[in-house]
């Protein structure tokens, strides 16, 4: 168990060590059917209802490769600037475990479909946004395993459980694994680079439409490898942290592992090559399976499948279907929206680019769209520890609120209260307005009464305004807003006030 004295504060650790990271990302492809059979891949079905002899690995059954899965993998490879193999095979990875129907996993081993790519990611630094190129070693295909649930026992692991249940609905869902080369020289940016990489990768997958990339449902999973070394010395031993289930956790996992390994090394200890299990609640990891004795998977070419040999023509056909690369698209949007690097980085880091774009498409003014997504909504997302996209608010709702502001029915302050209600699950925009009684006061009589009241209370201010110091009007407007509990249009109050006093601007 980790305790505080077993960690070194991050900033301090970074004064003595250099981190090297490597990321393995698994993405469940969003194909309709499984990798080797026609079973459905829909998430959330009753256990063991989306199975057949093939994905159950029944004796005699044989796999038939899903063409769409291959196409998706090639498109991913192309989007990540990879070379596409002209000939490659599947292999069997042999090991015994109850979530594996055949006790081997059909995967790619020494002949991946895509190799040698890269992905540029942007991280915010004190000196402004910085682009880091993450090199990609390989993108390969494999089949997912079943899902085990361990009942009883303290750890939730198989050892010590009273019994275990296995759901093979997930077995055979096409997975791709994207493995980076070692990422060196990022220093204290390492946690941010890790997060930015996974974020960017997610955006690429989303743009390609090959996966729904939902980390909380496990359709995007990240394993973070990390080692530390002293400057000028050889590479250290790496650990692999699993169970990293959100973008935020990617950053936290790397951050906390740096703190842990630094403490181990500081005390003269040795980092053990092992799998570690990240805990979302504590933000720390616990030791898992040791990898000191490398497991022997006895890989060999899968004899039940024929080699994949994508023709050049097919690859080019698929290349033609590639969407705009997210980074290129962002550059274009920056230009269109007329924002600077910093503002763009803010949008990117907030995961707000697509949301802002979608809001604009719904008719929202670009500046207003940015204001909402990187302001109030981002604040709530951070508070709740979720992604912006996971907030229960739609771009349609933003468009509605903005329309109501434009016609004077709402002001900014009221609009914030509307979103508060929407986010609290009180219903759609108009329902929240009705239930909370948030409409702007448009009755001139009521506003004039409030203005008169405020003028009476602050006669000196009234004098100033009438003597030409129009900027003093703010005090009266503020007082009126206060009496109307913010439900007035400040611009209108100001106009009425000036009219009342016979002053013109």
């Amino acid at each position: 168990m980790s305790t505080n004295h077993e960690t070194v504060p991050f900033e301090e650790a970074m004064t003595r060590y250099e981190p090297i990271i490597g990321l393995e990302v698994h993405v469940e492809l969003g194909t309709n059917s499984k990798m080797f059979c026609s079973c459905s891949t829909t998430f959330g079905a009753a256990p063991n209802t989306q199975v057949c002899p093939v994905c159950l690995g029944l004796p005699g059954s044989m796999p038939v490769l899903n063409r769409v899965a291959v196409e998706s993998t090639i498109r991913i490879g192309l989007a990540l600037n990879c070379d596409i193999a002209t000939w490659c095979r599947f292999a069997r990875k042999n090991y015994f475990y109850p979530d594996m129907p055949k006790d081997y996993q059909v995967s790619q081993y020494d002949e991946p479909l895509c190799t040698n790519g890269w992905l540029d990611v942007t991280v915010a630094t004190d000196e402004g946004p910085q682009v880091v190129r993450v090199e990609i070693e390989r993108v390969h295909m494999e089949e997912d395993t079943g899902k085990l649930t361990h009942a009883g026992g303290a750890t939730g692991r198989i050892h010590g459980a009273d019994y275990s249940l296995v759901d093979y609905n997930r077995a055979g869902i096409p997975l791709i694994e994207i493995v980076t080369k070692t990422v060196i020289g990022t220093g204290s940016l390492a946690p941010a680079v890790a997060r930015a990489y996974v974020t960017e990768l997610r955006d690429v997958m989303r743009a390609l439409g090959v996966s729904d990339v939902r980390m909380e449902e496990g359709s995007l999973r990240c394993d973070a490898n990390l080692s530390l070394n002293k400057p000028g010395e050889g590479w250290g031993t790496r650990s692999e942290t699993k169970n990293v289930n959100s973008l935020r956790s990617v950053e936290r996992a790397v951050h906390s592992e740096i703190e842990r390994q630094a403490a181990v090394l500081d005390s003269g200890g040795r980092v053990i090559q092992e799998t570690r299990h990240f805990n979302e609640d504590t933000g720390r990891s616990t030791s898992g399976r040791s990898k000191e004795q490398a497991e022997d998977y006895r890989y060999f070419p899968e004899p039940d499948l024929v080699p994949i040999a994508p023709s050049l023509a097919w690859v080019e056909e698929l290349r033609a279907t590639l969407p705009e690369v997210p980074s290129v698209k962002r550059a274009r949007l920056q230009n269109t929206w007329g924002i600077n690097e910093f503002e763009l980085a803010t949008l990117v880091n907030a995961g707000a680019v697509e949301l802002v774009e979608a809001s604009i498409a719904e008719g929202v003014d670009p500046a207003a769209a940015r204001k909402w997504w990187t302001g109030e909504l981002l604040r709530v997302a951070n508070e709740r520890g979720v992604e912006l996209s996971e907030l229960p608010v739609t771009v349609g709702q933003i468009a509605r609120v903005e329309a109501l502001i434009a016609d004077g029915s709402l002001n900014d302050k009221l609009a914030r209260q509307v979103f508060e209600g929407v986010l609290a699950g009180e219903g759609d925009v108009d329902l929240v307005i009705a239930q909370r009684g948030l409409a702007v006061v448009t009755d001139d009589g009521a506003l004039l009464a409030a203005i008169d009241e405020a003028l009476a209370a602050q006669p000196d201010v009234a004098e100033k305004i009438m003597s030409g110091k129009i900027q003093a009007a703010g005090a009266i407007v503020g007082a009126v807003m206060k009496t109307t509990k913010g439900q007035a249009d400040a611009a209108k109050v100001r106009a009425l006030l000036l009219e009342r006093l016979g002053v013109s601007e």
């Binding site: 029944l58 005699g60 081997y104 006895r298 004899p303």
Partner: protein, 501 residues
């Protein structure tokens, strides 16, 4: 038993099919005659692990109804058949001759079984085999050995001894076998029957419980070349469920069997598959057959395939390697035997205890060999090298087929040996397949057919014909010519000489 029944069981499948289609006899009568024969003799032969009598009678009645209704029937409609217990059949226990699968009822039909059904054939039951098709004698079946109808104290070959014996005992007119290193051909040789290993990919492997996926191939077993061809054409052809299945028209095997002609054909004698290690009586009958072929107008040439000498070694690395992986799923978790599940053992221990209890000695031996051959640090030296040998053997075949249209050799080095004689000597057992293994490694096709009885022991001798991939029709062209020449000489098929049980 009525005399008509005794006649029915000795008829060729082609004759039965014609009689059924003409309404001269019903499928039900034919089926009943065979079921009666099984009841009569199988206690002594033990060719069957499972007899599906009721289902067979129901299937037969259905065919008869169809015929009466004037429906168009297939070439083998209504003809009974025995299926090796390595092919899945919906709802019927499939054991692969192993304790570990005892009680498992597959929820699906293998493609071969589905095609038999689609052809309106009547499945009599599942036949005995060496456990997971590992063996050349059927002695490695967990359910006891099968006995050779020519001499019940002898082995019927293996692994498909049950299928071959069922033919020689007249329990079935046709049977399905599978051949990974000779498991159709060697049993055919030692039981005086015909067996064909089609081109790899020629017959779907879907539902064939895999021993070695890159070598396994299902094929026809029969008492005559024409019957084998008829069955071949029923089960062969592309299957989208098997990625390794060949998407091309099935060679015209029936036409070739009907034509039976070797005039002008170049027949290659493989130098390496003869001589030392082959029983004198086997060589004698083989040489006589060669002379006969020459007399029929074939040109006989000698060819050399030097890398065949390494075939056995390569085979016993590739097969165990693939088998060790294919048989991993038998872990007691999902189906079949489970041992040690008393709450005191971990999941790994239960897996281990189930495999310990469920697998026989030969299976364990090969799983260990294969696990070792694939291990990190040994892979290149064993599995990798074996794959290179495989390529060399394929090249030897290619070169030989430049000089000859087909190649021939004895099918097995000896006639049927005694039950128990080699069961404790794995290497002696493995040598049975020395002449049949190269074809599996290269993926081409071969047939074994009877060419007489060895003078010293009076037991059947088989001759192997090998043809290039997807030239399966040549096997039938040559086999049929040779069979009819021998039939002319003897006055009947060799199988007619099998002692009555």
């Amino acid at each position: 038993m009525r005399s008509v029944d005794a006649d029915l069981i000795r008829q060729p499948a082609s004759v039965l099919a014609a009689a059924i289609s003409e309404g001269e006899v019903s499928s039900l009568e034919v089926t009943k005659a065979h079921l009666a024969r099984i009841t009569e003799v199988d206690e002594r032969v033990h060719a069957f692990l499972q007899v599906t009598g009721e289902a067979a009678l129901a299937a037969a009645e259905l065919v008869d109804e169809k015929r009466r209704a004037g429906a168009k029937l297939g070439a083998l409609a209504g003809v009974p058949i025995a299926v090796k217990d390595v092919l899945t059949m919906r709802g019927v226990p499939t054991t692969c001759g192993s304790k570990i699968l005892e009680g498992w009822r597959p929820p699906y039909d293998s493609t071969v079984v589905a095609r038999l059904r689609a052809a309106d054939m009547v499945i009599l039951g599942k036949t005995n085999m060496d456990e997971f098709a590992m063996g050349s004698s059927t002695e490695h079946s967990a359910y006891g050995p099968t006995h050779n109808p020519w001499d019940l104290t002898r082995i019927p070959g293996g692994s498909g001894g049950g299928s071959a014996a069922s033919l020689a005992a007249f329990e079935a007119p046709l049977a399905i076998g599978t051949d990974t290193g000779g498991s159709i051909r060697q049993p055919a040789a030692v039981t005086g029957t015909v067996g064909v290993k089609p081109t790899y990919g020629g017959v779907s492997r879907y539902g064939l419980v895999a021993l070695a996926s890159s070598l396994d191939q299902a094929g026809p077993c029969a008492r005559s070349v024409l019957d084998a061809a008829l069955l071949h054409s029923v089960i062969a052809g592309h299957d989208p469920r098997d990625s390794t299945s060949i998407n091309a028209p099935v060679p015209d095997v029936v036409g070739a069997a009907n034509r039976g002609d070797v005039r002008g054909l170049r027949i290659g004698l493989v130098k390496e598959l003869s001589g030392a290690g082959y029983q004198a009586g086997v060589l004698q009958r083989f040489n006589e057959a060669v002379e006969l072929l020459q007399g029929l107008g074939a040109e006989v040439v000698e060819v050399s395939c030097p890398n065949f000498d390494y075939a056995l070694g390569a085979y016993y690395l590739i097969l165990p390697a693939e088998a060790s992986s294919n048989l991993a799923r038998f872990d007691g978790m999902r189906y079949g035997l489970r041992a040690g599940d008393d709450g005191s053992n971990s999941v790994e221990q239960v897996m281990s205890l189930s495999r310990e209890a469920g697998f026989g000695a030969e299976v364990k031996r090969r799983i260990m060999l294969g696990t070792y051959a694939l291990s990190s640090g040994y892979y290149d030296a064993y599995y990798g090298q074996a794959q290179k040998v495989r390529t060399l053997i394929t090249r030897d075949f290619n070169a030989a087929f430049d000089k000859a249209d087909v190649l021939i050799s004895p099918t097995a080095p000896t006639t049927a040996f005694k039950i128990g004689e080699k069961v404790d000597d794995p290497l002696a057992m493995y040598l049975n397949d020395i002449a049949t293994i190269p074809v599996n490694l290269a993926g081409n096709c071969a047939m074994s057919l009877p060419v007489g009885l060895a003078p010293a022991d009076g037991l059947p001798v088989g001759l192997q014909i090998m043809a290039p991939p997807m030239a399966d029709d040549r096997l039938y062209l040559v086999g049929s010519a040779l069979e009819s020449a021998l039939t002319d000489k003897w006055g009947h098929l060799l199988i007619e000489e099998v002692p009555s049980l």
